[in-house]
Symmetry: C2
Subunit: 339 residues, 2 copies
């Protein structure tokens, strides 16, 4: 049904080779032949068989991204935006994007190994790095190209784009301290996530730098979901000595914390200040709007993808390790402490 080089070759009375070269734009084909070939290809609606080309070229022109999900109710806007960034950059370069969702663990590692070994893709995009990241170890061991959003503990001798989370948290904490807050709580992320560590570090060190105590009882760890944010904030608020500000590791938990505050009849930004991290679209439209740290996730997705495409094409990578400085977005969920 679909036209092949062979068919074109028969029609124009030339060899398959010539047709191939004519279409590929090689210079050693006569103008007449080329024109004729193009003409017939057009008529037949010829489109190269990608699979055949891939086999021959030994590259798949496909990038893989395995999204780590903890539950089927998978809804962090963070990932959608990242995916859009990656996808658009890939499309612009003619690459396909193979997406799969796996919860971290054995299945996920298996997915990586399978994709690598079956040579189904040319490179990987790794998102949300972990301290000891099995995915990156697998990729390195296989000497397989990849780029990551985030760093790991230890050698970061690979392509990555990251955001300076430590700085992000410093901005947040300083903002709150300036507003008079002294008892700050922290909704931390699972400690195996690299950004969790940076954000926690930024939190505690900034407090210390300001001469404020770090109360371990005010540091609670959640799974980044709105649900956990809600629960954990509830625990904090029901203490005899609740914090006056809750700093969440990401917007989703912050949003959950907001509703916990509101459920108790308290006013966010007045009785309790809340901050997030990521600046996902809902942060802006929450009520009150959420003070948070802006991460250009879409752009980071594009950058990461572009990097890895460049590397598999042997192009020069000007900056193989990029750390972006985040910015604080002050909205209404943070306000002066009440006495």
């Amino acid at each position: 049904m679909a036209a092949t080089l062979k068919e074109i070759a028969q029609r124009v009375g030339k060899s398959v080779t010539t047709v191939s070269r004519a279409l590929a734009g090689y210079s050693d084909v006569s103008e007449a032949t080329r024109a004729q070939v193009r003409q017939v290809a057009q008529e037949l609606g010829y489109e190269p068989n990608i699979t055949a080309r891939r086999l021959q070229k030994r590259r798949t022109e496909t990038l893989a991204i395995v999204l780590p999900t903890y539950s089927p109710r998978f809804s962090d806007p963070f990932f959608s935006e990242f995916l859009a960034g990656v996808g658009n950059a890939a499309a612009a370069e003619g690459y396909d994007l193979l997406v799969s969702t796996r919860s971290p663990g054995d299945e996920e590692e298996k997915a990586y190994r399978d994709l690598i070994r079956s040579r189904r893709v040319d490179a990987f995009i790794v998102v949300r790095t972990r301290l000891h990241d099995a995915r990156i170890e697998i990729l390195k061991a296989a000497n397989f190209p990849f780029a990551a959003f985030g760093r790991i503990e230890g050698d970061n001798d690979f392509l990555f784009v990251d955001e300076d989370s430590e700085l992000g948290l410093r901005l947040v904490v300083e903002h709150l301290v300036k507003l008079g807050h002294r008892r700050l709580a922290f909704l931390a992320a699972p400690p195996d996530l690299m950004f969790a560590r940076y954000r926690l570090k930024g939190f505690t060190e900034t407090l210390q730098a300001r001469g404020l105590p770090v109360d371990p009882e005010l540091i609670l760890t959640g799974d980044l979901s709105q649900r956990h944010g809600h629960q954990l904030a509830g625990i904090l608020l029901d203490r005899p000595d609740p914090p006056t500000a809750i700093v969440a590791c990401n917007d989703l938990m912050a949003l959950g914390a907001m509703s916990a505050v509101q459920n108790r009849g308290l006013k966010v930004g007045y009785d309790v200040s809340i901050t997030g991290f990521d600046d996902i679209p809902p942060a802006e439209h929450a009520h009150p709007s959420l003070t948070t740290v802006h991460q250009p996730v879409y752009k980071i997705g594009k950058m990461v993808c572009q990097m890895v495409i460049d590397v598999i094409n042997g192009r020069e990578i000007p900056n193989p390790q990029i750390t972006l400085a985040p910015s604080l977005v002050i909205r209404q969920s943070s306000g002066p402490v009440q006495i």
Copy 2:
């Protein structure tokens, strides 16, 4: 570097064919040979070259899904969940999922045509159908397998799973009417979307059935984003005769509407009732929690994907057209009308 059948064949001193068959589990291979082949394959870490297999079998074992996005800030949890459902069903059957994001229009249609003509994928998943859906027309014209989430206007002679949006809206409106609301506003979706029509129909017809007027001024159309929900609700609330209830076409707009109400110092679920549609995770954790219509999006994703895989494998499809009945989830954003 990577092992091939040829290498295994050399080691065991058999032909490539035999090795291929041994590994594929054909019965016409001696046990001894099979064991030996398996052994060597294991040692060499053999993994079939998917591309070669695909070329030979003339199928890619890949499904495509092109997500329609209107802006780079692409964050509807609806799509993430759907994607997870599709992806997991695909993985379970050994299919890859090729994802791309395009805004509706020329680029999107081009993406479909290119994917079809280059035989890059075996089938498509179409999401968020439109009245006159160019994507479906292209697919039909090319006689290419696909399954859709949603129906179109006209012949629905293809595989689809849909949700009875009309019923969903009936449930919502009846719930509100029962609470005493008489002035209901509607935040509609772009009219080219099929579900927009069903939901609008459900809204107006239920009002009429209840003998209530349908005021065109209370029907505003948005782009499904939280931002638009916020803006449109603002317009409604600033009228001299604001509605007592706002029925939104989807949760995102409902969430945006909630914050507009709250910004005006009004209480959602008391001064103004608000309802959504989809039951995305944030709906549950909003403050107040959102009354909405539950759609099992993850499950629908799985079903749609399974359908299309079945069809390309020539399996029997028991129900090629499925319409699911939605359920109303009553939460706190809807309450009795105040007099």
